[in-house]
């Protein structure tokens, strides 16, 4: 039972990490557009990255809600 709980937690952690990797690649392209001048994120890049994740989640939630409302009519 403890082990089952452990594996459920690990699986969720894996999902979050794998989604973090995909979002980092996506938002990096949108937000880090100028040449690299140093190893830190500047203020604009940092807020762009956070907004990118939040807006992607908005789109994601809107899509799932709309598809559920359709009930798979289209196909």
């Amino acid at each position: 039972a403890e082990l089952r709980q452990f594996f459920a937690n690990e699986e969720q952690k894996t999902k979050i990490q794998s989604q973090t990797h995909a979002l980092t690649e996506l938002c990096w392209k949108k937000c880090v557009t100028s040449n690299i001048k140093n190893g830190a994120l500047d203020k604009n890049e940092q807020s762009c990255l956070a907004n990118c994740v939040d807006r992607f989640m908005d789109v994601n939630i809107a899509t799932m809600r709309a598809l559920a409302a359709m009930g798979g009519r289209q196909h």
């Binding site: 992607f56 899509t63 289209q74």
Partner: protein, 88 residues
């Protein structure tokens, strides 16, 4: 020895798994394509126009999916037909 009930349960499970993976791929395609198209510069909230764009983009993407699916199936059937004619 498969009872009819067991068989139906297996078929139902396989259909559900397929349809879940199909829905997941469709959602992924919509998210990636419509986020890219409707939210070029992510701000501190989804603006009204971005929101409207996302809804229309989703409808359009599903229409595109259906058009692509229809054309693809038509083409596969055509190719299978051509092969059979070629084999005569």
């Amino acid at each position: 020895m498969e009872s009819e009930g067991v068989k139906q349960a297996i078929i139902r499970q396989a259909r559900e798994a397929n349809s879940q993976s199909n829905a997941r791929l469709l959602i992924e395609g919509i998210n990636n394509s419509c986020f890219d198209k409707c939210v070029p510069k992510p701000g501190s909230s989804l603006s009204n126009s971005e929101n409207a764009c996302v809804v229309q983009c989703m409808e359009k993407y599903i229409a595109a999916w259906n058009e692509v699916n229809r054309t693809y199936i038509r083409r596969i059937q055509q190719e299978v037909g051509n092969q059979q004619i070629g084999n005569h």
